[in-house]
């Protein structure tokens, strides 16, 4: 396995993270460090554990062993008396609002308008007033280029627009890290670019990002590092050039040959 380059300021750390669903092991002792402001793209065949790894960061999945550490704080646990002890649900809810997540199927709230979708986090999680939350929400919608669709319900928006609203919603809680779980996989091909453009500008602005995607063009041009996963393990970590052009594992070579055409 390619040893990761030493990271000066590890903002996100996976320490020997393991997870299984019944008899199936989905994560086998994952170790990975992500620096502040870094954009790390995770690639790999389906079922390799990429999404699960992402979902462990904001605790949509619980881990069976190891630790996920965000900005020095273990996610979902506290270090006390030399052991990691599970936190209360409330404390976990609070931790979650420091991460933003964008889902493959957008998961917008269908009964709320675009503006209400984005304002929900600031209102519900940060406890802001309605006016203040909606001010933040319209700012965020403007940043993703959807200021004039604030009053539209999700069903009235195109897939690309819905995903941009979802990005605005995730950003509205002012997360310190953004997680993208195959954000363009459910989109029509001509709508992919508008979403990738928003993600690219976010990376340029210095947001720490962890992205699971099959968009190799995006990975090559935006990622600081690429991680290749297979069968619950990290097989390759390195710059886009290292991983995409000079993979050291056969499984990585096979996968890249398949997605390249």
């Amino acid at each position: 396995m390619a040893t990761p380059a030493p990271v000066q300021e590890a903002f996100l750390r996976f320490v020997n993270v393991s997870k299984s669903y019944g008899p199936t092991t989905v994560l086998r002792g994952i170790d990975l460090e992500v620096a502040r402001g870094e954009c790390v793209v995770i690639i790999g065949p389906s079922g390799s554990g990429k999404s699960t790894l992402l979902r462990c960061v904001n605790q949509l999945e619980t881990i069976d062993g190891g630790a996920v550490v965000i900005d020095g704080v273990p996610a979902g646990y506290e270090l006390r008396g030399g052991r990691l002890r599970e936190l209360s649900r409330r404390a976990i809810d609070r931790q979650r609002s420091h991460t933003g997540m964008v889902f493959q199927h957008f998961n917008l709230f269908p009964h709320l308008t675009a503006l209400q979708n984005v304002a929900e986090g600031p209102r519900g999680a940060r406890g802001l007033s309605r006016a203040e939350a909606e001010r933040i929400a319209s700012e965020q919608l403007a940043l993703v280029g959807l200021a004039e669709r604030a009053d539209a319900y999700p069903s009235e928006l195109s897939g690309g627009q819905q995903q941009r609203v979802a990005i605005a919603r995730a950003l509205a809680v002012e997360p310190s890290i953004m997680l993208f779980d195959e954000p363009t996989s459910a989109l029509d091909p001509e709508l992919v670019d508008e979403v990738l453009a928003v993600m690219r500008s976010l990376a340029d602005a210095g947001m720490t990002m962890l992205v699971v995607t099959h968009e190799m063009g995006f990975a090559r041009s935006v990622a600081d590092r690429i991680v290749f996963m297979d069968a619950g393990e990290i097989l390759e970590v390195g710059t886009p050039d290292e991983v995409l052009e000079h993979p050291t594992h056969d499984r990585a070579r096979e996968f890249l040959a398949r997605v390249r055409d």
Binding site: N58, L60, R89, R90, D93, R94, R96, S97, H98, T99, G100, M101, F103, H105, N107, L108, F109, P110, H111, L112, T113, L115, E120, G121, G124, A125, R126, A131, E134, R135, A137, S138, A147, E148, R149, A150, D151, A152, Y153, P154, S155, E156, L157, S158, A166, R169, A170, A172, V173
Partner: protein, 307 residues
């Protein structure tokens, strides 16, 4: 291979400039006529049959006793509906809790109260005094603080409310559970991901969407309760059904008085259906498309106070 129309392009062009001729659908017309004839016959049959005694129907439709019974039926329906939705929601909360003992309790409740016929439950609760003549309040295995004779505890209307509610709550629990299950799990995840706590997620995200799925069966349940209240006539409560049966037991005009009851039940059911239609439309926000999808010229309107 050449399409036959392709050879004669000018004829096709000429035909295409003419209005299209739609296919005739004679079956539609035949069906309409047949149904109309049957409908007219049915009306004639009802109106002309002397056994219905329409004059008697007219005389009792707004009879004071009948209207009193009607009023009791109406409020009993709404009270039982409201209580069973509350109790049913509570049972669903237990059912969906992560604690196995609570799940088992909820399951047992639904199993029992859905299994025993409502009429049996009504008569059973009416006679509860034989089973538990004295009801006491206290701690387990200690002498009770308060003791009340159970036949003094609740009136027969109280018995009706209890029996109907316990029965209907079992159904309400299933309706609520079905509604909650209809909300895709991605919604809960999205709410978690932006840091919403469980109570806010439930009230703001899950419930409004679940409500949409719950309304049609809730409407049926409400109408079901309306009709089920007619069973309370068996425990001497003066509802609509008791009122008409009291009259026909005296006058033997059974059919016209059953028509009176039927007419009122139809009126009430129609009103409830209209109410359901109205509420469903209001809860449909964001689900019923206001315009066509995607490429639509956006109407530019920034909400007040947003900037």
């Amino acid at each position: 291979m050449l399409d036959p129309t392709h050879a004669d392009d000018s004829a096709l062009r000429a035909a295409a400039s003419q209005p299209l001729i739609r296919r005739r659908r004679p079956l539609q017309w035949i069906a309409t006529i047949v149904i109309a004839v049957i409908a007219v016959q049915a009306v004639v049959l009802l109106a002309a049959n002397p056994a219905f005694q329409w004059d008697v129907v007219g005389a009792y439709l707004f009879d004071g006793k009948v209207l009193d019974g009607l009023w009791l039926t109406v409020w009993l329906t709404f009270v039982v509906f409201a209580l069973s939705v509350v109790l049913g929601t509570l049972i669903t909360v237990l059912r969906m809790s992560p604690i196995p003992a609570l799940q088992a309790l909820a399951w047992t409740y639904v199993w029992f109260f859905r299994s025993v016929p409502l009429l049996v439950q009504l008569v059973f609760w009416f006679n509860i005094g034989y089973l538990f003549p004295i009801i006491g309040v206290g701690l387990p295995f200690l002498p009770p603080f308060i003791e009340i004779e159970s036949r003094n505890l609740v009136s027969s209307v109280g018995v009706a409310i209890i029996a109907l509610t316990l029965h209907e709550a079992a159904y309400a629990a299933e309706v609520v559970r079905g509604g909650l299950l209809s909300v895709p799990p991605g919604q809960r995840e999205a709410a978690k991901a932006i840091g919403l706590g469980a109570p806010r997620t439930f009230v703001r995200i899950i419930l409004p969407q679940a409500l949409r799925a719950m309304l049609p069966p809730m409407g049926s349940m409400l109408i079901g309760i309306l009709k089920a209240t007619s069973l309370v006539s068996t425990i001497a409560i003066a509802d609509l059904m008791s009122a008409v049966s009291a009259i026909y037991n005296r006058t033997f005009e059974v059919v016209p008085l059953l028509v009176v009851a039927t007419a009122w039940y139809l009126v009430l059911t129609s009103a409830l259906s209209a109410l359901q239609w109205y509420i469903e439309r209001r809860v449909g926000r964001g689900f019923v498309r206001r315009g066509t999808r995607t490429v639509r010229t956006p109407k530019i309107r920034v909400p007040e106070g947003a900037l």
